[in-house]
């Protein structure tokens, strides 16, 4: 039966009917899942150099992202976990001074050019140590997308791995907060048990583990209802 009345809003200037392009049902469900998994007050945030926890991160490009995949959560180790190596580096920066005092105490004096090069080399090596520690923290990333959980591991320059698991393969998500510092600064280990080849993922010392577990659980629950 022909339509007797067509709303003016659905007509374009030429008077033709505009057909609304319907979003496919599965896509709609995924979008709903995403919107329910994240708290309503979580705006898009820009990831900067020291970000350790970010919901709806902006300005982040993960090259293996599939079509329609959106990063919902970005995690790194809590910033406070860098404290031990910062202390070590700070103490190590005093070593040349102590070494020179030690040498002069025993009456050993190095020529100026040797002292200059040795001190420069020492501080450059220390800078290298600081940089390697920093990038080991910086590139240890966990991403939770609307389709999967991605774990990027990088450690001490020699170990690099990228592992991912789809939400339906996740069997259990839990977190552990052990120690005073972990309680005070609200960080802990999140364990994701999977049915895939990689039996479990460990996101060590991530900030707000409870929120992260809640979000992943919500995503799994909503996806299993789809």
């Amino acid at each position: 039966m022909p339509d007797l009345f067509v709303s003016e809003n659905n007509k374009n200037p030429k008077g033709e009917n505009l057909e609304k392009k319907e979003t496919p049902l599965s896509e709609r469900k995924i979008l709903e899942t995403v919107s329910h998994a994240l708290p309503s007050d979580s705006p898009d945030r820009k990831v900067h150099l020291l970000t350790a926890y970010c919901e709806n991160p902006k300005g982040l490009i993960f090259t293996n992202l599939d079509d329609g995949e959106k990063i919902l959560l970005f995690l790194r180790r809590h910033l406070i976990t860098n404290f031990p190596w910062i202390i070590k580096a700070a103490l190590a920066s005093l070593v040349p001074l102590l070494f020179l005092i030690f040498l002069s105490f025993f009456g050993v004096i190095l020529p100026d050019n040797y002292t200059f090069i040795l001190i420069l080399f020492y501080y450059l090596a220390l800078l290298g140590y600081i940089f390697v520690q920093f990038i080991s923290w910086f590139f240890n990333i966990t991403l939770v997308t609307n389709q999967r959980v991605v774990d990027i591991d990088f450690s001490q320059l020699v170990f690099e791995s990228v592992a991912a698991t789809k939400h339906p393969q996740i069997e259990d998500v839990s977190y552990h907060q052990v120690g005073v510092l972990a309680s005070v600064f609200d960080y802990g280990d999140v364990t994701v048990q999977t049915a895939g080849a990689a039996s479990s993922f460990l996101f060590a010392q991530v900030p707000h583990p409870e929120k992260a577990v809640h979000l992943i659980n919500n995503l799994i629950a909503k996806e299993s209802n789809v």
């Binding site: 040797y114 990038i135 990027i152 320059l157």
Partner: protein
């Protein structure tokens, strides 16, 4: 004969050994920094964010500093 002995003694004096040790250490450090630059580049290919460029620039900057240090050591030691 004495000249030859003096020559070898001169070569093998403490500071000469220290110089060789320092130059070797700097060369090893440059190789290490080359690995760092390579790793930073490969990880930037996987995941990129605004500050990744800063890290890459810093790695290259350290490599340049190490090369300058090697040159300086060769000249003044």
């Amino acid at each position: 004969m004495f000249d030859l002995i003096n020559f070898f003694q001169g070569i093998l004096n403490t500071f000469f050994l220290v110089k060789i040790f320092i130059i070797l250490a700097i060369i090893i450090y440059i190789v290490f920094l080359l690995v760092v630059v390579k790793q930073v580049n490969s990880l930037n290919a996987v995941i990129r964010e605004v500050s990744s460029t800063v890290l890459r620039s810093f790695a290259i900057f350290m490599l340049i500093l190490a090369m300058l240090l090697l040159l300086t050591a060769l000249v003044i030691l």
